[in-house]
Symmetry: C2
Subunit: 194 residues, 2 copies
């Protein structure tokens, strides 16, 4: 078979294409190898095993999501818009990467009852980024002692948007719904401050 110098990147690309759309367990390593045009031993040389491959594909994905979200925040002009930017960012992000069926991180978490330490850490870093950044963005919008509660609510709404994708809703509509609900939630939080 042909030799591919960028085997590593090709494997990560194929993993995003296949494992994050069909599910990890439903995607045999063979299929990833065929799609990447790479030999088995190459995969194991780079990633150790299948879980290592999945883990590093998630890590690369998280970096991209981080960038997309951050730039959406940078473009927004009010504290409220910055807090809500996570929703349009999600819409934009999903057009820029091989679309997971819903959420690559939650999807992998759902089928990994006993993740190894590395994978566990990577999965946690997704929720970590989500809550930490929302917290920063919430502080200018609501009173400090309401920020944590508001963040928890927004994380739930954001997670709900992802879940709607799994229920078959298209991205635009799910994001629009999420934005609307998040708006109502913020109103209510602002109201409770007065």
């Amino acid at each position: 078979m042909e030799v591919h110098p960028r085997a590593r990147e090709r494997l990560l690309d194929a993993t995003e294409d296949l494992a994050f759309t069909q599910g990890v367990a439903a995607t045999p390593v063979d299929e990833i190898l065929r799609s990447a045009g790479v030999a088995p031993a190459t995969l194991y040389a780079h990633f150790g095993n299948k879980e290592g491959l999945i883990t590093q594909a998630l890590e690369r994905r998280l970096m991209r999501w981080d960038e997309v979200w951050q730039s959406a925040i940078d473009e927004a002009s009010t504290p409220r818009e910055r807090l809500l930017a996570v929703f349009p960012a999600l819409g934009r992000y999903r057009m820029s990467v091989p679309a997971a069926r819903w959420c690559a991180f939650l999807g992998v978490a759902a089928e990994s009852p006993h993740p190894g330490p590395q994978l566990q850490k990577t999965l946690a870093s997704d929720t970590q980024l989500l809550t930490a950044r929302l917290k920063e963005l919430a502080v200018p919008v609501v009173a400090a002692d309401h920020a944590d509660a508001l963040v928890a609510q927004l994380v739930l709404v954001y997670t709900g948007v992802l879940g709607m994708l799994l229920r078959g809703m298209d991205t635009e509509r799910a994001v629009g719904l999420g934005l609307h609900i998040a708006g109502a939630v913020i109103e209510a939080a602002e109201g409770s401050r007065r």
Copy 2:
């Protein structure tokens, strides 16, 4: 090995215990058989294959959820309470059955990129029940032309609650958050009617 006359029920119980907590693919048939104390051939005689077993376990589960939800609605005393009853019902339901890690239906959907017709139908019937019943309950609460939009929002919130379980939140807190957000969403919908 010992003979079990209620092999069918035992298999469904074991499936709920194992497959809906660990994930379907992560739960070998052998493990279900061992847990049920039943022989392989018995399983295949009753259910045809693994997917058949999963499907029927989901169907039984949906019937129970239906009952729990309906009785929570019956206990509520105002239209608004009846509409919101889905949240406390979820909390009660999860204490009454072997707890899936988050949601048995969404969990199976997430790892089944190509479900067979029976499984597909069963998975759809979950979302179907959710939206249809919420629609009935929403009509007395908001103007008719806002009911569909409100239902979509509540389905998202409900789905978000389930997703938070997957993110590791405990049931009580997730349900409480969902109830709070749903309240805000309904306020906003009522407001837009005025």
